[in-house]
Symmetry: C2
C-alpha cells in the first residue's frame, strides 16, 4: 500500500512538474506578447528608455521560450529513460516541442498593427546594406533586414514578432555548430575508426560526392518536369540542384548512434556509421561552398564550363586541405603549449586546471573562427582539431582537465544539439518565406530514400536513390579489398541510418534569400523531420529485422566476431594496409614528437637523421624520465591488463639518462601485437567516453567499469 501511494505520488509529482514548466512556458509566451503591445508615452527620453526596456523584456522572453523547451525536453527524456522508450530520441522530442510552440506563436497570437511603422517610396535604385535617412536635419542609420513579399507588407508587425524568435543563421555557424562538431571529433572511437579508415574515407569522400551528384541530377530532372507543368515560380538552376544535393548529403545519425550505443551494436558497424557521418559533414560543407563558387565567365552564368568546374574542384581540394592543416596545426599548438613547461623549470600549465580548460576551450573555438575568417571551412578545421586533440593532446592534460574538457564538451554538445532540433521544430511555423512545393518535396524524398519503406512505394521506385548510390556500389567495391567484409545487412542498416540533422539544417538556413533557396530550406526541414522521426524511431525494428547482433562487448570483439565471408584468425591480419602505414608513421614519429608516449625519435629515425632526432627528443629525454613514468603509472592504474602493454613501451627511455632504444621492438617499428594492444588501450579509454556520449541507462553499466576511474569522474 505504501508502495502504491509513493508511485502515485511520483506520477503526481511528474505531472505537477510538467504543468509547472508548461505554465511558465505559456506565461513567457504571454509576456512576450504583452510586452509588445504596451503603449508608449509622449516624452522622448522616456520613450527611448521604455523601448529599450520593452525590447529587453521581449528578448528575455524569447530566450526563455527556448530554455523552457530544453528543460521540457530534458524532463521528458528522463521519463523516457525510465520507461525505456526507444522509438523517440531526445532530438525528435525537441523537434516535437518546437513544432508545438511554433504553432502557438504563429497562430495563437496576433499583434495589433503599430502605426509607427512607415512605408516610404523613395527614389532609390538599389537596396544598400546601410541607409542614412535625413529627418529634418538629424541623421538616422538603418540597416537592411531583407526583402519582403508584396503580399506580406500588411502584417509586418506580426512578422516582426516572429522574426524576433528567429535567430541570425550565423548563430548556428559560429556558436552552436562548433561544439557539436568538436565533440564528434573528440569522441571518435579510435581503434575501430582507424581500423576502418579506408572504408570510412571512401564513404565520406567518394560517397558524398556521388550522392550529391545523383541527387542533384534527379532534382534537376524534377525541376525540369515542374517547369513543364508550370509549378515553378522562380529560377532554379542546375547549380542550385547540386547545392541541394550537397547539403542533404550531410548525414547526422545521432539518434541511430545513441541506440547503437545503448544496445551495444557491432562496433565495426558503429565505427563505419559514425566515422562516415562525422566526415561527410565536413565534405558536404566544403562541397556546397565549392558549388556556390562555381561561376563560368561567359554571359550566361549557368552553363557548363570546364575551367569553372576545375576551379571549383581546385577550391574544394584547397579549402579542404587548408582547413585540415589548420585544424591539425591548432590541435598540435595546444599540445605544444601544454608540453613546453615540461621541458623547463617553468610552472606547469597543468597546475592550473581552470586555465588549462579555458585555454583548451578557447583554442578549439578559435580554430573554427580562424578557419572561417581565412576563408577555409571551420567545420573541417574544428573536426580535425578535435581528432588531433583526442589523439595527442588528451593524454598530456592533467586528469582534472581531462574530466573537465570531456564533461564540458559533452554538455555543450547536448545543449547545442537539442537547441538546434527544437529550433528546427519552431522554424517550421515561424519562418516567413517557406516555399512548400509538393512536386519538389516528393522528388526530394524520392531522391533520398533513407527509409526502405519509401522504396516500396511504386511511384518512387523509378527514382534512383541518392544514398543507395553511395552505399551499395561503394560497399561492393570496398568488399573486394576488405578482409572483414561489410555484410549486406550492415549495408541496409547504413542505408537506413542516413538521417539528416543539424548540419543540413544549418547549411540550408544560412542563405534563404532567393526563391530556390527558400524552397530548398522548406524541403530540407521536411526531410530532417521525416528521417529523424521515421528512420530514427524505427532503428530498433530495423536492427532486429536485419538480424544485426546487439550486446557486443567491444573488448572481446577481437576474438569472437565472425564475419560472413572469411573467419578471422588473428587481429593483426585484418588491419588495413592504409591503416598500418599510418599507424607506423604515427607511432614512430608523430607520437614521440607530440606526446610523451612512444619510443624516442633517436630509435625510430634512420641513423643519418641522428642530430635532428636528438634535437627533437633530447629535452624531454633529459627532464621527463620520472615525469613520464608518473604519467604512465597513472594510466596503468586505470586498467590492470594494460599494464604490460604500456610497461614495455615506457621502458624504452632508460633511467641512466642515455637516450638509446631499449630493445629491437622499437628500432624498426612497432610489432603488430603492440599495435593491437595499444589500440585496445586507446579504445578502452574512449569506450568510456563513448558511452557517456549517450546517457547511461540505470541498469546498463558502461562496458568497462573500473572503480578508480569512476571515483575520479
Amino acid at each position: 500500500m505504501v508502495f502504491r501511494v509513493t508511485v502515485n505520488s511520483a506520477w503526481r509529482a511528474t505531472r505537477t512538474l510538467w504543468l509547472l514548466v508548461l505554465v511558465s512556458l505559456s506565461v513567457c509566451i504571454c509576456v512576450c506578447r504583452a510586452s509588445s503591445t504596451q503603449e508608449d508615452s509622449a516624452m522622448e527620453n522616456i520613450v527611448t528608455e521604455k523601448k529599450a526596456e520593452e525590447s529587453h523584456r521581449q528578448d528575455s522572453a524569447d530566450l526563455l521560450i527556448f530554455i523552457m523547451l530544453l528543460t521540457l525536453t530534458i524532463l521528458t527524456i528522463w521519463l523516457f529513460k525510465h520507461r525505456r522508450f526507444r522509438f523517440l530520441h531526445e532530438t525528435g522530442l525537441a523537434m516535437i516541442y518546437g513544432v508545438l510552440v511554433g504553432v502557438v506563436l504563429r497562430y495563437g497570437i496576433h499583434v495589433p498593427r503599430d502605426i509607427s511603422n512607415a512605408t516610404l517610396s523613395c527614389p532609390v535604385n538599389a537596396s544598400p546594406a546601410t541607409l542614412l535617412i535625413n529627418v529634418s536635419g538629424k541623421f538616422y542609420e538603418y540597416t537592411l533586414k531583407g526583402e519582403i513579399n508584396a503580399n506580406e507588407v500588411d502584417d509586418v508587425q506580426d512578422n516582426e514578432m516572429l522574426r524576433k524568435v528567429t535567430f541570425d543563421p550565423e548563430v548556428f555557424f559560429n556558436i552552436l555548430l562548433p561544439p557539436i562538431i568538436f565533440h564528434a571529433g573528440y569522441s571518435l572511437k579510435r581503434r575501430h575508426f582507424f581500423r576502418n579508415m579506408g572504408s570510412i574515407l571512401a564513404y565520406a569522400f567518394l560517397g558524398t560526392v556521388i550522392s550529391c551528384f545523383v541527387i542533384g541530377l534527379l532534382m534537376y530532372g524534377c525541376v525540369m518536369l515542374m517547369k513543364q507543368v508550370g509549378q515553378l515560380d522562380g529560377d532554379f538552376f542546375f547549380t542550385d540542384c547540386l547545392f541541394f544535393g550537397a547539403i542533404v548529403s550531410a548525414t547526422d545519425p545521432v539518434t541511430v548512434l545513441a541506440i547503437f550505443n545503448e544496445l551495444q551494436v557491432d562496433v565495426d558497424l558503429y565505427a563505419l556509421l559514425f566515422g562516415e557521418s562525422v566526415l561527410n559533414d565536413a565534405v558536404a560543407v566544403v562541397l556546397s561552398s565549392s558549388i556556390v563558387a562555381y561561376q563560368p565567365q561567359g554571359d550566361n552564368s549557368h552553363t557548363f564550363e570546364v575551367m569553372a568546374m576545375l576551379k571549383s574542384f581546385g577550391m574544394f581540394l584547397g579549402v579542404f586541405s587548408g582547413s585540415f592543416a589548420l585544424g591539425v596545426a591548432t590541435g598540435c599548438l595546444v599540445k605544444f603549449l601544454d608540453c613546453c613547461p615540461y621541458v623547463t623549470k617553468f610552472t606547469k600549465l597543468r597546475d592550473f586546471p581552470l586555465l588549462e580548460t579555458a585555454l583548451f576551450f578557447l583554442m578549439s573555438w578559435s580554430t573554427f573562427l580562424l578557419a572561417e575568417a581565412c576563408g577555409f571551412t571551420g567545420v573541417v578545421a574544428v573536426l580535425f582539431c578535435g581528432i588531433t586533440q583526442a589523439h595527442y593532446t588528451f593524454n598530456n592534460l592533467s586528469p582534472d582537465s581531462q574530466d573537465r574538457t570531456k564533461q564540458l564538451f559533452e554538455l555543450l554538445n547536448f545543449l547545442a544539439e537539442n537547441f538546434i532540433f527544437s529550433y528546427m521544430g519552431l522554424t517550421l511555423f515561424t519562418f516567413q518565406n517557406h516555399v512548400f512545393n509538393p512536386m519538389f518535396i516528393v522528388g526530394a524524398f524520392g531522391a533520398l530514400p533513407c527509409c526502405p519503406l519509401l522504396n516500396l512505394v511504386p511511384s518512387q521506385v523509378a527514382v534512383f536513390l541518392g544514398r543507395a548510390a553511395n552505399i551499395y556500389p561503394l560497399s561492393f567495391l570496398l568488399n573486394l579489398g576488405r578482409r572483414n567484409k561489410i555484410r549486406s545487412n550492415f549495408q541496409h542498416m547504413m542505408m537506413f541510418a542516413g538521417l539528416r540533422g543539424a548540419m543540413t539544417f544549418a547549411l540550408s538556413i544560412r542563405d534563404t534569400a532567393t526563391y530556390a533557396r527558400q524552397m530548398m530550406f522548406s524541403t530540407t526541414l521536411l526531410v530532417v523531420f521525416f528521417t529523424v522521426w521515421i528512420c530514427g524511431g524505427g532503428t530498433t525494428q530495423m536492427l532486429s529485422c536485419q538480424r544485426i547482433r546487439v550486446g557486443v562487448d567491444s573488448d572481446q570483439d577481437n576474438s569472437m566476431s565472425i564475419t560472413d565471408g572469411s573467419e578471422r584468425r588473428s587481429t593483426k591480419h585484418e588491419s588495413a594496409w592504409l591503416f598500418r602505414i599510418w599507424y607506423n608513421f604515427d607511432h614512430n614519429y608523430l607520437k614521440p614528437i607530440l606526446t610523451h608516449s612512444g619510443p624516442p625519435l633517436t630509435a625510430t629515425l634512420p641513423p643519418c637523421c641522428g642530430p635532428l632526432a636528438r634535437i627533437l627528443t633530447s629535452p624531454q629525454a633529459y627532464e621527463n624520465e620520472c615525469q613520464l613514468k608518473d604519467d604512465d603509472s597513472d594510466l596503468i592504474l586505470t586498467d590492470g591488463d594494460i599494464n604490460l602493454t604500456y610497461g614495455d613501451i615506457t621502458v624504452s627511455t632508460d633511467a641512466s639518462g642515455a637516450h638509446t632504444s631499449s630493445g629491437p621492438a622499437f628500432a624498426g617499428g612497432a610489432t603488430s601485437d603492440d599495435l593491437d594492444r595499444e589500440l585496445t588501450y586507446g579504445d578502452h579509454e574512449l569506450v568510456m567516453r563513448g558511452t557517456r556520449l549517450v546517457l547511461p541507462m540505470d541498469d546498463s553499466e558502461p562496458p568497462f567499469t573500473d572503480p578508480h576511474h569512476r571515483l575520479r569522474m
Copy 2:
C-alpha cells in the same frame, strides 16, 4: 648548463607563443578589414551570396579578436602565476589588452568609403523602428540602428566597422552577467557570510542607498557648476545624477578578493567584503531601475513629487522582494526535481549526471530570464537562486554533478569576467559616442574615492565621499551592536576595496541613447579602469600598510582571532542574534523540508502541527533512512572531525522506522555547539570551493587538504 639551456628554451617558447598569438590577432584584424573592402560583382544573386559570405567572415574575425584577447590574457596570467606578480590581476590585464586592440581598430585602419551607402532625404517626420522602402515595386525592410551625429556622417563606413565589434548591450545582460552573478552566489563562504549577515545586509542595503544619494547629490552640485561655467552641452537632471550614483555604487572587488584568497586574509574581512559586493550589485540594479521609473505626473517631469517617489520606493521593495522570491523558488524547484525520485520507485535523476547538470544549468539561467521577462530583476533572482542552490540543492546532487556544476560555473565565470573586462578596454576606443567631460570626471572621482590617495589631493578633499559615507558611519553604528567589532583597519580596507567592475559597466552601457547617459558611460569606464588598476594593484601594499593579518587559517580562526575591543571566549557568543534566529528556523524547518539532513519535522514542529509534519516528512522517513546515512557517510568521509558532529545529528531518525526525535537537543532547536560545528562543516566544504575560485598558486595549498576529496575533484 643543461639547466640554463632549458630555461632559455622556455623563454624562447613563451616568446614564440606570444608572437604566434599576436600574429594571429593581427592576421584576424587584417582579415576583418580586408573582407570589408572586397568589391562586389554585378550579378544580383551572387551579390547576395557574396555579401552573406563577407559578413560571415567579418563576424568570425570579430569574434576571433575577442577569443585571441582571452587567450592572450590566459597566457599572460600563467606567466604572472609563475612570476608571482600580484600588482596586476587578470581582469586588469584583460583591460590593457582590450585597450591596445581598441587603439589599433580605431586609429590603425581606415576603410575606404563604400559607394553603395546612400543618404536619403525623405519626407518622414519621425524615425520609426522599422522602415519599409519601396524600390521599384520590391519592398525592403530596414531597422533603425541609431542616430548619427551630423559631423560623423562622412565616416559612417569606418564607424560601421567599429560598430561591428560593439556588442548589443543585451548580450551582457542576458548572457555574460548571469554566470558571474550565479557563481558569486553559489560560492559564498557560508559560515562567515551568515555570521556577519547583519553587517553585510546593512552595508549592502543602507550603504548602497546612502552611497547612491551622496554621489547623486555631489554630482548634481557638479552638474550645476558645469551649467554655470557653460561646460554642459545637454540635459542632465537630478534623476540622472541619482542614476549615476546607483550604477557606480555596485562594487566588484574581484581583484581584491583574489588576492585575499591567495594571501588568506582574515575570513571575517573577506566575508564582509565579498558579501557586501555580491549583494550591493543586486541592490544597485534594483535601485537604478527604480530611479528610472521615477516619473512625476505633472508637466515638468523633473521636479520632486512625493507620490512619484513613494511609487519608486514601492517599486524598489516590490521588485527586490519579487526577484528574491522568484530566485529562492526556482532554487527550491531544482531541489524538488532532484528529490522527488527519492520518494518513489522512479528512476533517479542523479543517475544521469549529464541530464542533471544540464537541468541545473538551464534552471539557473531560466531563473534569470523569467525574472527579466516578468519585469523583476534577473540579477537578484539568479543571485538568490545561486545561494539557495548552494545551501540546499548542492548536497542533493550526485558527486559527479557537484563537480560538474562547480567546474562549469567556475569556467563560465572566468571566461565571462575576462571577456567583459577586455571588452571594456576595447570599448574605450571603439565606442562612438563618448562624452568625456573633464569636470564631470573630476567630480565623479571626487565622489568615489575608493583610493585614499585621491582624498589627499586638496582640491577634492571638499567633496564628500560616496563610499566613505557608506562604510564609516555604518561601521560605527554596527560596532555598537557587534561583539566582534569591525576594526578601523578593516574599515579602511573596505573603503579601499570599493572597486567598480562588470556590473557597473553593464548597467552603464545598457542605455547610451541620451547625452547624459553617454557622459555617464564614459565616466564610468574611467572609474572602472582607475579603480581596477590603481586600487586593485595596490591591494598588497594596502594590506601591509593597514597591518591586516594574512595567512589566517580559517579553521583555527574561531579560537585564535582576537579583536581590538573585546576578547572572544567562545564562538557561540559572537553569533549575531539575527543569524541565530535564522539558523534555528533554517535548521529546524527548511533543511528537513528541502534536504536530507537535519532532524525530522515531527521532532521540530510543535505537537499541534503533528499531522502536517507527518505529511511533509513521512515519505522521506519511510524510504530514506539508509539513503540518508549513505549521504552523510559520504560527507563524513571528507573530514575526520566532522564525523562526530554529523554523527549526532543523523542519529536523529532511528533505524526502527519510528520517527521520533532521538534526544532533547532536537526538540527545541539546535544547541549553539551544533550550530557552530555544522557551520564549520559547511564552511569547510565551501572553503575548498572558495579557493578554487581563484587559481591556486603552485605552493599555496587550500586550507583544508584532504586526499579523498582532492582525488574526486
